[in-house]
């Protein structure tokens, strides 16, 4: 079964278009490098920035290797505590990506389920869920995240640092699910009226099974594209929150935290502490966005 699916994918139009689009291939390559570095940071990174024992305070605030005072050991320089920026970038990317992907997965789960239920059952359930969506959309994502974070701090004052990851995911998915719900609801409404669904009803299949086996697989098309683009946006929201100080703590910094930490040193000339995390953030978000854009165009039958 799976070999059949893979065979169909690599023989299909989407893969063919991918091979012919330099932009898609470039952004996929960049995204892939970032993901590999992030996942295998323990082995790929030259140093371990989280292990306080390996830090040498004497090497603090060293500029990047190609500048006069730089050492080859620290390619992108070090921060105020002697942490290697390059390694911190890899670990930070890992956290950023983890938060991004995890929050998208949670949003997808909640959003797709609610969208499916709303579209399939219709009536008051549909109206209720859609009104909740409308209300959620009128809150800016950052403010909701700040609120959740504030509540998290109030509820778990001591454990905040360790729970930061979970709190961040909740914060971001609280507004993120709405897009999925609306998109899937639209697709469900379309598929529900198609004749193969009516045929299943005439056969006597239960509504739950129809939703799960007939409607869901066909309504998921636009969701893949949405998910890719939302990963980029989730990463940026997380970075913003961390920059504002309400995201990942310095003990396990994400890219946003690194930018914040480096911000203080910007004016005194140690630019590398902020600029490199910033550049990597932009690169990751951009490559994921481009990939998502290309995927959306590739899957749009009218543009083919």
């Amino acid at each position: 079964m799976s070999s059949g699916v893979l065979a169909r994918f690599f023989g299909g139009d989407v893969w063919y278009g991918f091979r012919r689009s330099p932009l898609a291939m470039a952004s996929a390559a960049v995204a892939l490098i970032c993901v590999v570095c992030a996942v295998f940071a323990n082995w790929v990174a030259p140093h371990n920035p989280t292990d306080l024992a390996t830090l040498e305070l004497a090497d603090a605030l060293m500029p990047p290797a190609w500048l006069p005072e730089g050492k080859a050991k620290y390619l992108f320089g070090t921060d105020a505590q002697g942490r290697d920026i390059l390694s911190a970038l890899m670990y930070g990317t890992r956290i950023s990506l983890a938060v991004g992907i995890a929050s998208v997965l949670v949003s997808m789960l909640v959003g797709v389920t609610l969208g499916l239920v709303a579209g399939f059952i219709g009536g008051r359930t549909d109206a209720f869920i859609m009104r909740v969506c409308d209300v959620m959309l009128s809150f800016p994502a950052i403010l909701v995240a700040l609120l959740v974070d504030g509540m998290g701090r109030a509820l778990f004052p001591q454990a905040h640092d360790t729970l930061a990851f979970a709190v961040l995911i909740v914060a971001i998915s609280l507004t993120g699910w709405v897009q999925y719900a609306r998109t899937v609801r639209g697709s469900t409404l379309v598929e529900r009226n198609k004749e193969y669904v009516q045929a299943a009803r005439v056969i006597g299949v239960t509504p739950l099974r129809i939703m799960r086996r007939h409607v869901l697989p066909n309504a998921l098309g636009p969701v893949t594209v949405l998910a890719t683009i939302q990963v980029a946006s989730a990463i940026i929201i997380e970075a913003t929150l961390s920059f504002l100080g309400v995201g990942m703590p310095v003990t396990s910094p994400s890219l946003g935290t690194l930018i914040r930490v480096g911000n203080d040193f910007l004016l005194s000339g140690e630019w590398w502490i902020t600029v490199f995390p910033g550049a990597v953030l932009v690169m990751v978000a951009l490559s994921v966005n481009l990939l998502g854009d290309w995927l959306r165009d590739a899957m749009n039958p009218r543009l083919r």
Binding site: K194, Q198, A199, R201, V202, I203, G204, H214, P217
Partner: protein
Amino acid sequence: MSTLVEVRDLAKGFDVSAPWLNRVIERRPRQWVHAVDGVSFSIERGKTLALVGESGCGKSTVARLLVGLYDPSAGEVLFDGQNIARTLASPQALALRRRMQMIFQDPYASLNPRWTVRNIVGEPLTEHGLVRNDAELKDRVVELLRSVGLVAADMEKFAHQFSGGQRQRVSIARALATQPEFLVCDEPTSALDVSVQAQVLNIMKDLQRSRGLTYLFISHNLAVVRHVSDHVGVMYLGRVVELADKASLFATPRHPYTRMLLDAIPDIAMSGRARTPVQGEVPNPLSPPTGCSFHPRCPHANERCRQERPALVEIRGVRVACHAVEEGRL
């Protein structure tokens, strides 16, 4: 000669009102479309009843009412003596569903694009517990595919790999899986080319003969109807205006609308027959005419036609709903 399906005063209305908020703000009343407005007929076992009419006449809605996709607003549908609305709400629903199935118009939307043909045709078998294991499922599916002129290798293919005519055959195979007695066919060949249509109609006729199937055949094409049916019902704006056996309907149509329909068919034989010119178009179902809904287009309408809705009465062996025919004016 027993009656398998009987329909009594069947009616179905759809609420097409604006959303509640709009109605309150703009002070608009609720609006209903009476898609089916009091329809009665019966179908004998092993025979084909065709329902024919133009857009908005309600024939597709009748089809869906008969298989329980919609619940009637009024009236009842009896299948082998049992009221289907009641049975479908009871634990015996699945047993009833096994005996009646449906074939749809659009060959491209009636098969799940992500399922293989084996799953599509096998779904009714697994749903009704008619097979015990995978091997038995496979055998049954192959048997069904062969009966509609497809081959066993087609089992692993997806819907988009087939042409329109082949997809309709898959739909027929799926409908036959539970060995039903009654098939509702909603314009099964309207979306197909002429030569493909001929293939599918031939298959359907062969299957009817070999399995003793009863068909309700919906169509807008009178020539096709003439080819497949035993009895014909002509519908207009939700009502049956004429109900007769095929020979009588085509030889001596009585209702003015039936005559108009038969006149309007393009004449391939080019016999140069005389025709009465056709007038007007089907009115908006949201605001149907009073009395007899055909009166604005009828050359024989009188005052009674404008006020009083004609009942479907039996006149010389056929049933017609027309004052002019009843009064002997026609």
